[in-house]
Symmetry: C2
DNA sequence: TTATATACCTCGTGATATGATGTATTCCGT
DNA sequence: ACGGAATACATCATATCACGAGGTATATAA
């Protein structure tokens, strides 16, 4: 998959992955694997960015001796998901242009 | 529109814009305006990149005293458009995941 | 004569994804 | 008991990219 195309959805995929339940880095990667694969370095960069922009909050929890950082989506994060759906409509019309040009 | 999402389609839009007829910078911008807006600096950067990667070829033509650089798509460029259509299928399944997560 | 449209180009900046690398613990097979 | 895989976090350097700001030049319309 084209790198540029990926970038457009990575953030939103991570938000979607934590929408229904608090999750943590390692689990997010495993959950997303069937949908989109991403490395740890990529994920943690994204999580940091989403935290900085207040789309999610973090809570460190001790779990079986290991530290886990649970990520929880915020209202701003939910709003970002809504925005994405609108942006997708725009994307669809752009796609239509590309395909139309392709048929002529 | 989200900057990252744009990046995924900019190159392909430019290719689509020159697919059916040779075009030149200024015209490409005007043709794409209803679909996606892009500045000259953005376009020329893209055209340069597409030329470097052999997706299009350039031919300078004198037109009414002014120089025009006509861009023509190559087989590699056409192949890129085909690839994009396949990538879009992937994108649709990613989108489905995001929306599905949003419904739960 | 002034402004707008046409037509090209370059440079610096900020944002980004990713591989490589590092630390530490637990669990499982042999 | 030992070694490796899995779990879980993190940072850094690098390469790629879009874009605003700025620059050059001609033709046409106000």
């Amino acid at each position: 998959m084209d790198a540029q195309l990926r970038r457009g959805v990575l953030d939103v995929c991570v938000l979607a992955a934590i929408k229904n339940e608090n999750s943590y880095g390692y689990k997010i990667i495993k959950d997303l694997k069937p949908v989109i694969e991403l490395s740890e370095s990529t994920l943690y960069t994204i999580l940091k960015r989403l935290e900085d922009s207040k789309m999610l909050v973090v809570k460190s929890v001790e779990f079986e001796g290991r530290l886990r950082k649970y990520y929880h989506i915020t209202p701003a994060g939910l709003q970002r998901l809504e925005e994405f759906k609108n942006e997708w409509k725009e994307m669809m019309s752009i796609y239509a242009f590309i395909v139309e040009a392709d048929l002529k």
